[in-house]
């Protein structure tokens, strides 16, 4: 089958079909062979990793994935030390770095920044997170983890829990899940409910999510729970944050009371996920982060149209 991602950008999940998502996951499965020992498919090729915002997992796993494919990376982990500090525009930074590399992955605080990059550059651009809008490669690895653990995505009840208002990971993941036959539960404190426009979009795409603020009930119903961080920086004052954050916690007791659903989290976590759940068999968040490697190898090799063997 021809590679429909060759030379393309990867900016949003919105326009991806189920076949495309499944195809990418099939490719990620093939990459598992090379995950620890690597290949030389991307020898001589360079990836630019432009992170204008902090990141641990996304940046490092993209670098690892490119290196496992036999390529190399250049880039920066924050705008400190770059000409952005001197007032250089994003557009000029992108146009400059694109002269040095074959593909770019970027994270930027402004929503739509990666889309702008695609308009300016001729090389493939991957969105590693733009403000609170999208995080499509996180979604690929989330879906991959769900499929790996449950056999398939279809036919399951999935609960998204935590900050559903500002979280870009749940924004992208819920869009991807609208391609599947799933029951979706949206559990959040009332201040952090999913925005209406996204809810409306999901309904238009055939999902009929159930909203709830009863965490115990949602976890009991779900086969798999995807928890997200309550984002302190989004609250108008600290007292309000403390109130919500204190009341919203998944711990070992709660999981055991609710039948031990599979537990995913994009990380980093703060107080919403107690560390006493870490050694539970169904706590999958570290292997989920690890799945970022084969998934990102699959994505990079597709966009660069590499033959990996």
């Amino acid at each position: 089958m021809p590679n429909q991602f060759a030379g393309a950008d990867f900016i949003t999940i919105r326009d991806k079909t189920k076949d495309q998502l499944e195809g990418m996951m099939d490719r990620a499965e093939e990459m598992e062979k090379y995950r620890h020992n690597g290949t030389d498919a991307a020898r001589g090729l360079l990836m630019g990793t432009l992170f204008f915002e902090p990141s641990t997992r996304t940046r490092l796993s993209f670098q690892a994935a490119m290196k496992r494919l036999g390529g190399d990376t250049i880039g920066f982990p924050s705008s400190e030390g770059t000409s952005v500090q001197k007032g250089e525009t994003l557009a000029d930074t992108l146009r400059t770095v694109s002269q040095y590399v074959n593909i770019i992955v970027m994270r930027h605080p402004s929503e739509g920044s990666a889309k702008l990059a695609t308009e300016l550059l001729d090389i493939p651009v991957i969105n590693g997170g733009d403000g609170s809008a999208n995080h499509p490669t996180q979604t690929l690895l989330d879906l991959y983890t769900i499929r790996k653990e449950l056999g398939e995505v279809d036919g399951h009840t999935i609960a998204l829990a935590g900050d559903l208002r500002y979280s870009r990971t749940t924004r992208s993941l819920s869009r991807a899940l609208s391609n599947y036959d799933v029951e979706l539960i949206l559990n959040s404190p009332s201040q952090l409910r999913m925005k209406k426009d996204l809810l409306y979009e999901l309904k238009n795409r055939g999902l009929d999510p159930v909203e709830s603020d009863d965490l115990e009930h949602s976890l009991t119903e779900a086969d798999l729970v995807y928890a997200t961080r309550i984002q302190k920086e989004r609250f108008p004052n600290l007292a309000e944050y403390e109130k919500v954050a204190h009341a919203y916690e998944i711990d070992r007791d709660l999981l055991e009371r609710t039948g031990n659903p599979l537990l995913l989290h994009p990380l980093p976590r703060v107080t919403e996920l107690n560390t006493n759940v870490d050694d539970l068999e169904n706590s999958l968040f570290f292997s989920q982060a690890g799945n970022g490697i084969p998934v990102r190898m699959a994505l990079i090799s597709s966009l660069l149209d590499l033959t990996v063997r």
């Binding site: 525009t89 930027h108 605080p109 889309k115």
Partner: protein, 161 residues
């Protein structure tokens, strides 16, 4: 008022544009959007809530020696979707067509999301929206996905003047 008397109140122009069937009460908004306050030498006629066979009441704006750009026409469609554009040459209407809302709106108003890349100063970028529904009007920002409804669009249109 008879049709004849009403006509007398609206000056004929030799050349220019008559924007007819403007939603009653919206002519001044159109005036503002087209930056007509800065037009110095051309005659401009504004009629507000005059009788209309088609609409009951309507507004009308006639501007001498002015022909609308596609962007200006799209702006009018956003606040007065029923409006018609009459192009006048040698005192005759030579062309008449309804305003049409394009599928995509570029550079007409700012995205209401302050964190959208299209709102960042100095970046080489114009706002860009997809019209997702015409009635009621809703648009989606093609950069940040932000959805905007009619009242927000009207607010942004005026704010950006």
């Amino acid at each position: 008022m008879t049709k004849e008397k009403q006509k007398m109140k609206i000056t004929r122009i030799k050349s220019g544009t008559a924007i007819d069937h403007i939603t009653p009460g919206s002519a001044l908004k159109v005036f503002e959007l087209l930056d007509l306050e800065f037009v110095e030498n051309n005659s401009i006629t504004i009629a507000i809530r005059v009788d209309s066979k088609k609409m009951g009441k309507k507004d009308l704006l006639k501007i001498e020696d002015k022909f609308l750009t596609p962007t200006e026409s799209a702006m009018i469609a956003l606040i007065s979707p029923e409006a018609t554009i009459n192009i006048i040459k040698s005192f005759e209407v030579t062309e008449k067509h309804p305003v049409e809302l394009p599928e995509q709106l570029t550079g007409i108003f700012d995205c209401s999301n302050p964190n959208c890349i299209s709102n960042q100063d100095r970046e080489p970028i114009e706002s860009k929206f997809q019209v997702t529904n015409k009635d009621p009007l809703t648009v989606r920002c093609l950069y940040c996905d932000n959805m905007m409804e009619e009242t927000q669009i009207a607010h942004q249109l005026i704010k950006d003047r």
